[in-house]
Amino acid sequence: MTVRLLDTPIDYHAVTESVRDHRAGAVVLFLGTVREFTNDQQTTALDYDAYPEMAIAKMQQLIDEARERWPVIQAVIEHRIGHLELGEVCVAVAVSSPHRKDAFHAGQFLIDELKVRVPIWKKENWIDGQTEWVHPDNEKSTLPPPA
């Protein structure tokens, strides 16, 4: 399975092993982890919500697009949903390619586009007990403008 949503911890070692290949000279793994500070605000945990069917379809589309643009040998994306504590892995993206530049480009493309296209949402749990849905910065998006 090359794309998954999980409500249990991501085994990024298994993710990385699954993209290793004798044809590959390079593997790039990206992990998104729950960060304590965003500017001055202190996070204690995150909650992720997803539209599962569409999120899976979109993650698979991203991998298909990466394969059209770079000589990707294997690619895997796993994203957590539910409640995550500080330091936990929220997303793992692993790519293998014959050469390193392509592995870096494909890996960065997958996580950049995941953040603008895949229907998953993050709610901050601030240290003062408040919660707040994250409003993404104006990331470069390939989507149609808002409806």
Binding site: A50, L114, I120, W121, W133, H135, P146, A147
Partner: protein, 81 residues
């Protein structure tokens, strides 16, 4: 026609439900569907300018028409990763 609209994240919280039913005329656009949705759930007007709509797992623009028997979802800009 009757359509069911799935709601996620802040859209679900504001509407107070994870899905809602609307009665639309055939050939209505996404923009018209959103107007009906906000009539039904006025709290959504708070994020009105930011709502995204997906039909059958694909993003659609506001002038697209709502097809029959489609899976429709409405949600704020994504923030995964």
């Amino acid at each position: 026609m009757n359509v069911t609209i799935k709601l996620f994240a802040q859209a679900r919280d504001l509407a107070g439900t994870s899905q809602t039913n609307l009665s639309l005329n055939e050939g209505e656009s996404v923009k018209q569907m959103l107007a009906s949705l906000i009539d039904e759930h006025p709290a959504l007007s708070q994020i009105q300018g930011n709502l995204l709509v997906a039909v059958n797992n694909e993003y659609v623009s506001s002038n697209s028409l709502i097809p029959t028997n489609a899976e429709i979802a409405c949600f704020p800009p994504v923030s995964g990763g």
